[in-house]
Amino acid sequence: MTSHWPRILRRGRMEAAAIVIIAAGVFMLLQPFSMSLYTYSFVTTLSGTALFTVVSKFPE
């Protein structure tokens, strides 16, 4: 049976995107270069984590 779920919203791809956002957030939190990056690190990590939690329920 073929799934009608849009290809772009398939779990694998969306989880990969969420992982990239989480990794970017962690890097922004720990980097020594820019205070602005540090300031926006939490919002980035939080968005990535929320996205991961949601998309992990999507079909493959």
Binding site: V26, Y38, F42
Partner: protein, 320 residues
């Protein structure tokens, strides 16, 4: 005629031991209801010791609450605590100390752990004994490790300084690992690497032992050199396990508290003040409970995000 006795099963023993009043209540319940009855104490405990403190911390992070002034009026401050933490240069400095600790411990533990796993996988004579010896540090409590490394690092009587003197000629009394601004950061890296390299070695060993032998046999038939076999078979096939070890150690070291607290307590100055030490100071020395709750939530979300990646990597390893 003598009566034969049939041995009772555990379930029958339990049924006989159950008081009549309880038995009457349980009888007639569905399997699902009995299952809920058994797991509900665990769920209640989980709610009480995990979920409730988390929800309470989130609530406190939006207030000006101070635990040393329980009778003071608690005011909502919105996201001010989060803004303060994320614009505080001292907290940013603590994050950089954490980053230094994370980067070097993960790098050294992965390199040494994989090298040790590769050696142990050769199955040389008495490799079982040496594996046990290598695993001893990770079996010790971090409190014990922190205490005895404090003695090992003593400039006057510590073995570490004498070992450095023996190897490099630098006088033992001329430097202090945990008292020096330059060396203290490396002192905690050395101890953590000493303690947790065996753990990384174990995970890498599992990866190496999961590689089927016929792949190497096929490579030998194709006349691939040992060097080429290592880079094209061993490393790629062990990589998911190495990633797993890196993520696990990353999460653990991001939260590192006990060992650093015992070894340096964040000093000298704030050189080794990793994030969890700063959090402790804000919460229990300065008593800024609302602020430290916001800081704790920021650390929690970061660890939770990393844990998601860890679980994803773990599932990939399982499906191999």
């Amino acid at each position: 005629m003598s009566e034969t006795t049939v041995p009772l099963t555990i379930a029958e023993h339990a049924a006989r031991a159950t008081p009549d009043a309880v038995a009457r209540q349980v009888r007639g319940l569905s399997d699902r209801a009995i299952a809920w009855l058994f797991i509900s104490p665990t769920i209640l405990l989980l709610l009480a010791i995990n979920i409730f403190p988390l929800v309470w911390t989130v609530r406190l992070s939006f207030t000006n609450f101070r635990a040393n002034r329980p009778n003071a009026k608690i005011l909502g401050v919105g996201i001010d605590n989060y803004v303060s933490v994320l614009t505080d240069p001292d907290v940013w400095a603590a994050m950089q100390s954490t980053a230094h600790f994370l980067f070097w411990t993960i790098l050294l533990q992965t390199a040494l752990g994989f090298a040790l796993a590769w050696l142990v996988d050769r199955r040389f004579k008495s490799h079982g004994f040496w594996t046990t010896v290598i695993l001893v540090p990770m079996m010790l409590s971090p409190a014990v490790v922190g205490n005895f490394w404090t003695f090992l690092y003593q400039p006057q009587i510590g073995l570490w300084n004498y070992a450095v003197q023996f190897l490099t000629g630098i006088p033992a009394a001329s430097f202090s690992m945990i008292g020096s601004v330059k060396l203290a950061r490396w002192a905690i890296v050395v101890v953590d690497t000493w303690m947790w390299t065996p753990y990384v070695m174990l995970i890498c060993l599992a990866g190496l032992r999961s590689i089927p032998g016929y792949i190497y046999e096929a490579a030998e038939v194709d006349r691939a050199s040992p060097w080429r076999q290592f880079w094209t078979i061993t490393v790629p096939m062990a990589l998911p396990f190495i990633m797993l070890a890196v993520l696990f150690r990353g999460i653990e070291n991001f939260k590192m508290f006990d060992m650093v607290n015992l070894l340096t307590n964040g000093g000298p100055g704030s050189t080794t003040e990793v994030a969890s030490i700063t959090l402790k100071r804000e919460a229990f020395e300065k008593w800024r409970t609302g602020y430290s709750s916001a800081f704790a939530i920021i650390l929690f979300v970061t660890v939770f995000g990393l844990a998601n990646i860890y679980v994803k990597a773990l599932n990939r390893v399982k499906s191999r």
